[in-house]
Amino acid sequence: MHHGSWRLVVALFLVFTALVVAGSWYVWSTLRSVETDLPVTTISQHRELSSVIQGLSELMITLDAVRVSPTAQRWDEFLVSLDIACYLTESFLDSLPEIGEGSYAIVKDETERILSALDDLAAKAPQIDKTKALAQHVRLRDTITLLRETYLQANQEALVILYQQVRHIKRLQLGVLVVILLVVVSLVSMTMLILWQRRSIALLAVARVSAQESEQRFSLAMQGANDGLWDWDLETNAVYYSPRWKKMLGYAGDEIEGTITSFSELIHPEDIDRVLAYQKSYFEDSLPKYKIEFRMRHKNGHYIDVLSRAFLVRHEPDGKPIRFVGTHIDITARKRVAAELADANVRLEEASRHKSQFLANMSHELRTPLNSIIGYTKLMLDGLEGDINEEQRDDLQTVYNNGQHLLELINGLLDLSKIEAGKVVLSYETFTISDLLTEVIPTMEPLAGEKGLALTHSVAPNIDSLYADKAKTKQVLINLLGNAVKFTDEGSVRLNVAESDSEFVFSVIDTGIGIKEEDLEAIFDSFKQVGPAQIAGYEGTGLGLAVSKQFIEMQGGRIWAESERGKGSTLTFTLPKKQVTNS
């Protein structure tokens, strides 16, 4: 493109140069053609000459009048016109150049001769005899006639020359004007052309740099992404396939022809119709973007999965598609992994379902013997089958407590497996604090009473109702209070309910054995809890705390423990204040 512009500049320059040369030659030749040897070459000379002719004509008229009737008056008139003719002739002679040749010289000589004759006549006239003068008159008249004719001749020639001169001058002026115009036009256009050229060169340079950069980036990105590139020129139908594109299908550099057929022939027969239909709807603008997966035949005969993404380049004014460019990614491995993952997921879900089912069944099976263990022990403890001594009572109580503990473990295990399987759903409701406490506190009172513990609770004023999962909150409270009562031998267990701007805060404070600092977090950990290394002195908490932690966190709250060894523990949980929703 820029080569063409330079050629244009050069051509214009040559044309202008030729025009200027031609114009200059024309002006020069016009000037040359004006050079001549004629005596009268200027307007002023022509005017002088005309005056002389007129003066001579006047002189002849007065002379003729004297000859017809030589009165004193006519004689005076003749003398006056003689003076005028002398003056005019002298004046004309003065206007002629000093040196001359040809007709010019003749005119000059004749004029000098007639002038001296006229001068002579004029000098003698007042004294001469009027009759003699008549004789002289004929000669003088002939001389004047001759001179006048010579003058007329010269003047006619001069008129022609002058006319030519005027024409030449006009042509000259025109020529000069044209030359000046051409020079100005050429200068302006050359300047503009050069400026435009510079600008387009600069733009071109910028464009070239950015094109190089983007090409470089693209090719780097392609290499990095391991994508194959194809570029289909819809006007010539030529297709460029990048080396990576070919390699993906097992082909080397020149093994694939740059036509669209070599592309479509490699698409799986089952996929080709779908691909063509997709491309058609993309060309018709009914798709936002071109992104399709299909299979292509590898050189070795097997098929690979390809993800093809492309975009259409359209010709600006008419929107005609001119270029279709796209990339290929080999997604065979990805698809295989995805299929395997989906498969594994199905198996996992099945396994998880089996596990849940197994746990549910297992818990049923485990409960059945516990029915007898707990039931019969309680039967004896209640003294329904006769009196028992103190030692027997302690032993039976131990069996009973452990039976209860085993039952709690089984329940916790089931809860955790349900949480883990995502089967626990929250069911929110609005309930009052006093309702909740009425359901919880009485269940704790018998054991606390037995141990002689003070079980108290306090609720901050203004707390009325809350929106939460009541059943789970209740289970957590029972769990925390149960543990507190279980691990406190003397003193008290207190439940505090407070609130901040954003949450309710439940604290269970006991005066029991306390928790070692390193165990403060571990007691909520289900895996550690069920592991072989149970937390010393705190065995028997079961899985209740792990379940509680899950239930609280599911509701968006937090749970933690604080303790001073030997002085007691405080277990606290929070529930965020939620808006009542209709869902």
Partner: protein, 133 residues
């Protein structure tokens, strides 16, 4: 021990002998006359011959007829439909509980049974059934 159950007959249906014996003891001490069946079929025939005041029905029973089906069949008999039936199960699934109540059980007793609670529940439902008649 007050003899609140005097003159009242309870049918216990459970496939495990130990469980029957426990219920028999717990209720027997309170004066109840306890009869037992170990299968669904036995439960239906015994309900007809013994005409108990209340039936304690274990949900899971071996053989063709489980506790829920036995309950349905008993409830379908006009002369037995008034007898309150308490379902017993070790299952903790909420849907099992709901189903038991849906088919006509008066209440639900969770296993392992609480021997302090059981007599209270039995007495309550017998009283409720007799006042309804």
């Amino acid at each position: 021990m007050e003899k609140q159950g005097a003159g009242k007959k309870i049918l216990v249906v459970d496939d495990i002998e130990d469980n029957i014996r426990l219920v028999r003891k717990v209720l027997g001490f309170r004066g109840y006359d306890v009869v037992a069946a170990q299968s669904g079929e036995d439960a239906i025939s015994m309900a007809q011959t013994e005409l108990p005041d209340l039936i304690l029905m274990d949900v899971r029973l071996p053989g063709g007829i489980d506790g829920l089906e036995a309950t349905q069949r008993i409830k379908a008999l006009p002369q037995l439909a008034h007898i309150p039936i308490l379902a017993m199960t070790a299952s903790v699934k909420p849907e099992d509980v709901r189903r038991a109540l849906d088919i006509g059980c008066s209440a639900f007793v969770r296993k392992p049974i609480d021997i302090d609670e059981l007599p209270k529940q039995v007495a309550k439902h017998i009283a409720r059934a007799s006042s309804a008649n």
